[in-house]
């Protein structure tokens, strides 16, 4: 245990040192200053502390604009590859900020862990359902209000969902606090409504995936394109719509006493269906781009984390939509159990998956907004 910790630190140090070297070269060059937030933030400093580097790495979207443009990219002897260097550092930072600390190791071989957690989660819920219900109930067609709860009791379903979701919130908050303490603005300035609003806009529009001119980034290859931004929007807004669907359903249930399932044209179902589509198109598109992408600037070892999380989102959505379609047939019981298995796993792994990038990047954008508000002109 002790010795793996030391190895870990040495590895993290090597990644940090490489990032520091890279930023020192860029800071003497600055040709890429128009691409994204990383470069203007870099220009505010002469020296780069570990915390600064963690912040800059989490500002980077891995858009690769600065890789293809770099006259020092390999095989040049300076061997500069900013997106790859930052991708590695981000992965290190996810471990560093994981909450609780000992679970940081879930980020090692994260793709495998997320897959196994998903398998166990789905199998577990299925098994539980089988144990709870006799097969005549499980395989009967149910309809009308409370149909789902005939298969999985209301209290159990709500209880499990609240527990796992609640845990995710707590663990993500723990991580966010650790991040903010280490790589937040410190004494640079404080959060205000205007900086929050700026960061919110940057995050919501993925402004920095626009490559500075809005033409997009060098992804999946050297040509500039907005395709990654588009797929990410499908995914993100799909996710938000699904979240909204669940929230509306909760209000229906608790406030109005209207019990699920809801009709085809009810608000929760419409939101969930549209969002679910987004969650199919977005993740599928992003995975497709990943495999299509020129891998010069990607760290192969870290692809598992991205792909596993995207696949999980895709499957949550797919099983949800299947459930919607077959909810009046005898297959509903099994479909419900499977969907629930995916959803609960998603909640559980959120704090230990690629999902955290959203939290840290948003936090980095807030710091960026603060920093730019107080910015001294670059170039000193």
């Amino acid at each position: 245990m002790q010795s793996t910790e030391i190895v870990k630190t040495a590895q993290r140090q090597a990644v940090l040192d490489d990032a520091r070297r890279a930023m020192e070269i860029c800071n003497a060059c600055r040709y890429c200053e128009g691409y994204c937030a990383v470069f203007p933030a870099m220009e505010q400093r002469r020296a780069f502390s570990d915390s600064d580097l963690n912040y800059l790495a989490n500002l980077c979207h891995n858009c690769r604009g600065c890789y293809y443009s770099c006259q020092y990219a390999p095989p040049h002897e300076f061997n500069l590859n900013i997106p790859k260097t930052f991708q590695k550092l981000r992965a290190e930072s996810y471990e560093q900020y994981a909450w609780p600390g000992p679970l940081a190791r879930l980020f090692h071989r994260n793709g495998l862990i997320v897959c196994m957690a998903t398998a166990l989660g789905v199998a577990g819920v299925l098994l539980l359902t089988m144990l709870l219900q006799t097969s005549d109930i499980l395989f009967a067609a149910h309809s009308g209000p409370g149909a789902f709860y005939a298969v999985i009791p209301y209290e159990l379903m709500v209880g499990l969902a609240s527990l796992t979701f609640g845990y995710a919130i707590v663990a993500l908050t723990g991580g966010a606090i650790k991040y903010w303490r280490d790589a937040g603005p410190g004494t640079e300035g404080s959060v205000s409504w205007s900086t929050l609003w700026q960061a919110f806009q940057d995050a919501a529009t993925l402004k920095h995936l626009g490559g500075g001119t809005g033409e997009g980034c060098a992804y999946p290859d050297e040509a500039f394109s907005n395709i990654r931004r588009v797929f990410h929007h499908f995914m993100f807004y799909g996710f938000m719509l699904c979240f909204a669907a669940t929230s509306v359903a909760t209000i229906y249930d608790h406030v109005f006493g209207w019990v699920a399932p809801y009709g085809w044209f009810s608000i929760p179902v419409i939101l969930g269906t549209v969002g679910g589509m987004g969650l199919l198109i977005g993740p599928a598109g992003l995975v497709w781009l990943k495999f299509k992408a020129d891998d010069a600037s990607a760290e192969k070892n870290l692809m598992g984390m991205d792909v596993a999380f995207l696949a999980l989102l895709f499957l949550v959505s797919l099983t949800g939509l299947i459930l919607l379609v077959i909810r009046e047939t005898p297959a509903m019981g099994i479909a419900l159990a499977i969907h629930l298995g995916f959803v609960l796993t998603l909640f559980l792994v959120l704090p230990y998956s690629k999902f955290v990038h959203g939290i840290y990047r948003s936090a980095a954008l807030v710091r960026y907004a603060i920093e730019m508000k107080n910015a001294k002109p670059s170039g000193e």
């Binding site: 128009g34 220009e43 040049h76 040509a223």
Partner: protein, 465 residues
């Protein structure tokens, strides 16, 4: 597959800005075009891949330039740096044409930073490439491919067959195999000869062994030599090059912009024997950095060291290699391999000569030495606050001045003062027509863009006859 047995309308030699502008223009006018680049794909783009911006005239603000920069001011700037060694008709034509280039560039894949950014506050006179020159070159190559220009990397033109000022064919080595290529027109955009150490030695002697080449290693001047040997008229001083003082730890080639050092005005600069040799505070650095390349080249072993103390370290842009640091001057001397006593004496003499003054690095301030030879006339402050820092300096060669003479149609001018029928030149290889000496930031790319377009157009006209 590129068919090298074909008789192309235009053969373009080079893979930098000037070559690409010519190739794209000729292709757009319907020519079949073959572009040969000596470098492999990774290192394509010559010196152009290291550039930051180009200088453009404009009478009112544009999307990429602020305010206005009129023809007369541009011309005055050019006169100032060249001291009149220019060809007025070509220079003015270039300045006027520069007003139209940015939209043309954008349509062909170049992207600019919005005018309000820009590290050097040059947003008024110069338009900055988003991502720098390599991004520009990438954009042009993508356009060239889309237009159907035949492109070969790793292909060096070794010799040209020219008869009576008319280009016939080129001997090339493509990926190790020899070919002879024929074309109706030749556009030569193969840069200067600064990467050819033997040639540099003809002017500089063995000192050239210690020169660092800031840009590509592929600009060896082979085409320039062949053209001059075949009766093309030369322009520019064969012994001159644009040399700046850069960090001595830079790689031999392709170190580019990041090896630049801006610390000299705040320092004292000593040679191998720990002696000062020139006024470090003579003028603002942008006006002096080109002189310092030559100064360092004239010192023994072509090496010098700029020495500053803690209060100056944040006054200039960071550079790529960290400063060499020590708590004492003696410690610094040891790290630099200089004579300890000699450096201590030089610093002590300098400190003793520094007069009181009000330091201000935004003006030519009144901080100067008294009774010191050579003097330091501005920004002179005692070197007394540790830690002390040093940067080693060597001459860094940007480009050479010798080139081929051209006319307003970018045609090479032959010994009898007649323009060649089918040979055109663009870029660094003909920049000497306009920049006879000195340098104006951003003019290199402007010349390549303007003359590249002209060469492409004229070659296309020729091809149609």
């Amino acid at each position: 597959m590129v068919d090298l047995t074909k008789n192309y309308d235009a053969l373009v030699i080079g893979g930098g800005n000037a070559a690409l502008c010519a190739a794209i223009t000729a292709r757009e006018q319907g020519c079949s075009v073959l572009l040969l680049e000596h470098a492999p794909r990774h290192f394509r783009g010559g010196n152009s891949r290291h550039t930051r911006n180009l200088r453009c005239m404009h009478d009112e603000p544009t999307d990429v330039l602020t305010d206005a920069y009129h023809e007369d001011e541009y011309w005055d700037d050019l006169m100032r740096v060249t001291k009149g060694v220019t060809t007025e008709s070509l220079a003015r034509m270039t300045i006027r044409a520069s007003a139209e280039v940015t939209p043309w560039m954008v349509e062909r894949g170049v992207r600019f930073q919005p005018s309000l950014g820009g590290t050097l506050n040059l947003g008024r006179t110069n338009a900055f490439f988003l991502g720098g020159g390599k991004a520009l070159v990438n954009g042009y190559f993508a356009t060239a491919e889309r237009l159907g220009i035949d492109i070969l990397y790793d292909t060096e033109v070794r010799n040209l067959k020219i008869r009576d000022g008319v280009f016939q064919s080129a001997d090339v080595i493509s990926k190790g195999f020899p070919y002879t290529v024929t074309a109706r027109n030749l556009v030569c955009a193969s840069g200067g000869f600064q990467a050819n150490l033997d040639w540099l030695k003809e002017s500089w002697g063995p000192a050239a062994d210690n020169f660092i080449i800031r840009g590509t290693s592929y600009n060896k001047g082979r085409m320039l030599r062949v053209l001059l040997d075949n009766g093309v008229t030369s322009v520019g001083d064969p012994k001159q090059c644009h040399a700046v003082a850069i960090d001595a730890r830079a790689p031999q080639f392709d170190g580019g912009i990041v090896t630049r050092l801006d610390c000299v005005p705040f320092s004292i600069v000593v040679d191998r024997d720990a002696q000062r040799f020139y006024d470090e505070g003579e003028d603002f650095w942008p006006k002096r950095y080109a002189i310092w390349g030559r100064l360092v080249a004239a010192q023994p072993d072509q090496i010098a060291y700029a020495i500053i103390d803690a209060k100056c370290i944040k006054l200039f842009m960071p550079s790529v290699f960290p400063a060499i640091e020590s708590d004492s001057i003696a410690g610094l001397a040891e790290k630099l391999g200089l004579d300890v006593a000699a450096l201590e004496k030089t610093v002590a003499d300098y400190n003793a000569a520094v007069q009181p003054g009000t330091f201000d690095n935004s003006i030519l301030d009144n901080c100067a030495t008294d009774g010191l030879t050579p003097p330091k006339t501005h920004w002179a402050r005692k070197i007394e606050d540790g830690p002390f820092y040093a940067y080693p300096l060597r001459p860094g060669i940007t480009f050479t001045y010798l080139g081929v003479k051209v006319d307003a149609e970018a045609r090479m001018v032959m010994a009898n003062d007649q323009p060649s029928e089918n040979m055109f030149a663009s870029g660094e290889i003909m920049a000497g027509n306009i920049l006879g000496q000195g340098y104006l930031a951003g003019l290199g790319m402007t010349i390549g863009t303007v003359f590249g377009r002209i060469a492409g157009k004229e070659a296309a006209k020729n091809a149609k006859h």
